[in-house]
């Protein structure tokens, strides 16, 4: 499998400020890769660097094995679905979908046939003569997707495509995008700040922070084995508890969290003070006296599960816990806190 996109030491600077600070990654053909991070982390700039809407200050960008670093957007074999959809308001759905083909010099008749086929693929048959303003938000989004895939680009880019849809539609559309990508074997770069969305659609996720790559891996790797504090914090609302680590074997280490002693994989982290990322659903709340001593500070019922905040006086920390609905606990109750080792990961401090 060859690589569709390669970034080698790419930076984008605005004056002194580096929006993207020397990043390297590759994206394999036929995969969906998500750029994930908080706003301002450089993920959208990275996407625009792929598109050619921004030009790199330094470094080299390859698409489909060709150096495109100095090519304009119109000269690159990519297309993009914009956050705002960017449908041309004065053109019909069909004219919008044809636009790229016509710009590439394809005759009107053939362009319209190709566009109609892709519009049917996204379920917009019969709406070809409408203006974008006469469509719902979800339909507009489909037009934007059809307009982009009609060119059969080497890489398809999505910039927060779900942010203008309501919550119910989001889940549906993201499954459609994933389905379409797998059906057509597209290479997709997808930008989002929503970690749920990223985990759900991606083959691989590149987590970005302050213009750099914080971690690059499969959704499972990121969730279960965050490489640093930022990733642990950003993915899955993990609790970060202070702990001390002492290696006891080739891969194992003894980790002490307050009065609790656990055996966990050390994952290459050196002896001394560390952090342990604790997934909220891997905390077991039992009778007081077992494990760490804690007190329920807040309790909330959310239908499918309960959420607690548990104060840990010994660690001067609060723990966010997701627990089954059965056996409700009330605020103020004293509890004993234990952990399911599968939901814990050692993370270097700082």
């Amino acid at each position: 499998m060859s690589d569709a996109v390669i970034f080698r030491g790419v930076s984008k600077r605005y004056g002194q400020f580096a929006a993207v600070d020397v990043i390297d990654f590759t994206i394999a053909k036929g995969t969906l890769v998500t750029l994930l991070g908080p706003s301002g982390c450089g993920k959208t700039t990275t996407l625009r660097l792929v598109a050619g809407l921004e030009h790199a200050s330094s470094g080299r960008i390859e698409i489909g094995g060709k150096d495109v670093t100095n090519l304009s957007a119109a000269e690159r074999d990519v297309s993009m679905v914009f956050q705002s959809y960017a449908l041309f308001p004065h053109m019909t759905v069909l004219e919008n979908a044809c636009y790229g083909l016509r710009a590439s010099g394809i005759a009107r008749g053939r362009a319209e046939a190709m566009a109609a086929e892709k519009l049917a693929l996204v379920g917009l048959e019969g709406l070809e003569r409408r203006l974008p303003s006469q469509l719902s938000g979800g339909q507009q989004q489909r037009v934007a997707v059809a307009r982009a895939i009609v060119l059969e680009p080497k890489v398809l880019l999505f910039d927060e495509p779900l942010s203008n849809l309501d919550a119910k539609l989001r889940r549906h559309v993201r499954e459609e995008i994933r389905g379409l990508q797998q059906q057509l074997g597209l290479t997709v770069v997808y930008v989002t700040h929503d970690q749920q969305e990223a985990l759900a659609v991606s083959d691989r996720i590149i987590v970005m922070n302050a213009g750099r790559i914080a971690q690059d891996g499969t959704p499972r790797e990121l969730y279960e084995a965050p490489r640093n504090r930022f990733v642990a914090d950003f993915i899955g609302d993990a609790n970060l508890l202070p702990a001390t680590l002492r290696r006891t074997g080739a891969t194992e280490a003894e980790v002490r969290i307050g009065t609790l002693s656990l055996t966990l994989p050390h994952r290459g982290v050196a002896d001394g003070a560390v952090l342990v990322a604790v997934q909220p659903h891997s905390v077991r709340l039992g009778a007081a006296g077992e494990g760490l001593a804690g007190t329920v500070a807040k309790a909330a019922y959310l239908g499918s599960h309960r959420e607690y905040e548990v104060a840990l006086p010994g660690l001067a920390h609060e723990l966010f816990v997701v627990a089954p609905v059965a056996q409700p606990l009330a605020a103020g109750e004293a509890v004993g806190v234990a952990f399911d080792p599968a939901g814990l990961a050692v993370v270097p401090e700082g």
Binding site: G52, L53, A74, F82, Q83, L87, F88, R147
Partner: protein
Amino acid sequence: MTRLWLLLGAVGLVLLPWYGLETPAASVLGLRAEAAPALFAGRWWLWPLVVPLGMAFAGWLVPAGVAGLAWMAGQGLVIGLRGWGISWLGLAGAAPAQAAMGWGAAAFALACLMWIAIGLARRGWCRGDVFVLGALLLITGLIALFVAWPVLSILSSAVRDNAGAFTPGALPDKLFNRAIWGLDCLGGGRGCGVAWNTLAQALVVGVLATLLGLAFALVAVRTQLPLKPLVRVLSLLPVITPPFVIGLALILLFGRVGVVTNFLANSFDIPRTRWIYGMPGITIAQLLAFTPIAFLVLLGVLEGVAPSLEEAASTLRAGRWQVFRTVTWPLIRPGLANAFLISFIESLADFANPLMIGGNFNVLSTDIFFAVVGAAHDQSRAAVLSIVLLVFTLTAFLAQRAWIGGRSYTTVTGKGDAGLSAPLPLGLKAACLGVVVPWLVLTVVVYGIILGGGFVKTFGRDYTPTLDYFLTAFSIDRGVGGWFLSGSGWRSFITTMQLAAIATPVTAFLGLLTAWLLSRQDFAGKWAFEFATMMSFAIPGTVVGISYILAFNVPPVELTGTGLIIIISFVFRNMPVGIRAGLANLAQIDRSLDEASMTLRAGTARTLRLVLVPILRPAIVTAMVYGFVRAVTTVSAVIFLVSGEYNLATVYIVGRADVGEYGVALVYSAVLIVTMAAVLVGISAMVGRQRIGRRGTLPAAELATT
């Protein structure tokens, strides 16, 4: 693409007549000696232009373009119509002579610019976008030639005497002259210097226009009176009214034999005086003309004050006055300053009203005019006065941009604010109405005179209806060869419409292209580019007129007496209107539309043509209509530029009024106003319908949240 521009360069040198601006065919077929292309007829000073052409064909595009332009400019300045053009170079020998550059030169210069654009694009400037670079260089070149070069000519004239000799030593004397800066009037002397007159006049008009505009805006926004539509109509009137007509109407009302004067003299024995001639008359005329502009500025500001802020204040126990004083007033203060500076600049630049009604009260713009057309014919003095006026307007313009430009507390977020504006304090409301109603009456009376005054025998004395004046100007007779336009006004009327119609699309094209460059492209020196384009807005028409005479009266670029120079002055006077309209509208179109087009393989020119221009079409039409109307009604710049062959409507009217033929002047003005109103209303109605039909309710661009 590149080949096309290489070819154009070659055509400019070997095919088109290098000199003269008659149509190429006419001059070639006429086989006049000077119509020969550059390389023929033994003009050795043009032969070196072959070198850049060769360089361009060899692929050295940037050096070729620069060298070509430099040699053209250099030889054009050094060799004039009567020999050496620059005496201090001390060139000896028999001087060759050359006429003004023509079509061949224009083609070659354009080719040079495009060579530079292509060459720079190949080196990666502006992301390698030839279209952007080409547009940028073209507009820069035009502005350099038609804005910067004329202004420089003024400066150069100021340091010469009228014979053309270089006399920088005399400049301080001319610049700080008693006639300009004298303060005699303070000590009871004859009168102050013209600079003080101008400043005082502008200050008075600026303050009063702002207050009047505020009163109108308060009445329109904060009272129940159905004044808004009426006031909006009145605010359009100054755009379609030739500027001096108001002065004319005031003379008919308040002059020595005016209607009001007659009434007062006959009924109350109030002696007839000439009080209207001078500062009072100019002030009233300018207020009638500029208050609507201040009103429009303040209307927007007042409507932008979020009612919830005032409601918040009143729920915090503030009374009506307190709300107005502590919330509303501070919020609109930047808008007031803006309205003041705009009226101030308009008053500084106004030429027609002081000319018509100024009497012995001179201001800079009229003094400039009389320095050139009067018996004195003192170009050097006109240049010095122009510099003073230019410094005033530019300072005010810069103050307006720097100080107020982006500063505004009012916010239009697009979120609905369901609150109700606080009612006005009663005293304030009474004061506003007390000012607004009489002023509306005066406006209606003035426009009544303008529209009807030409259809009675002698306004003020004999009100017998008559069509005599109308027929004098616009009669159509049947003669030997069939119907012909025998009225004396037809010729200037048709010329005006033709020249304005030619200038309008050019104005809109250049204005919108500039707006697009400014809003969508990043390039080095962008602020300087923006400054230069908007600056032409701050140059008073009189200064433009005098500068065009000084710059384009002699080779290398000789345009005076042609229709072309009038068209060019229209274009560069009105281009900022197009730029502003374009900027405002482009700001509402999300950039992602351009980007979507780019990622769909469309180049820059295609994106502009297929995406932006169709969306901007209503704005383009509106800009064109305003450009057209402004061109038709302007007088200050063109009064210097008209010729026997190309006379314009406004200049013709001024001429009639000047010799006392008020009837013809009024009739002609009324015809112009009605025509322009028809153009405005007709086209606005068309554009309005189109917008509803095409753009529906909710364009995707407006959903954008980025």
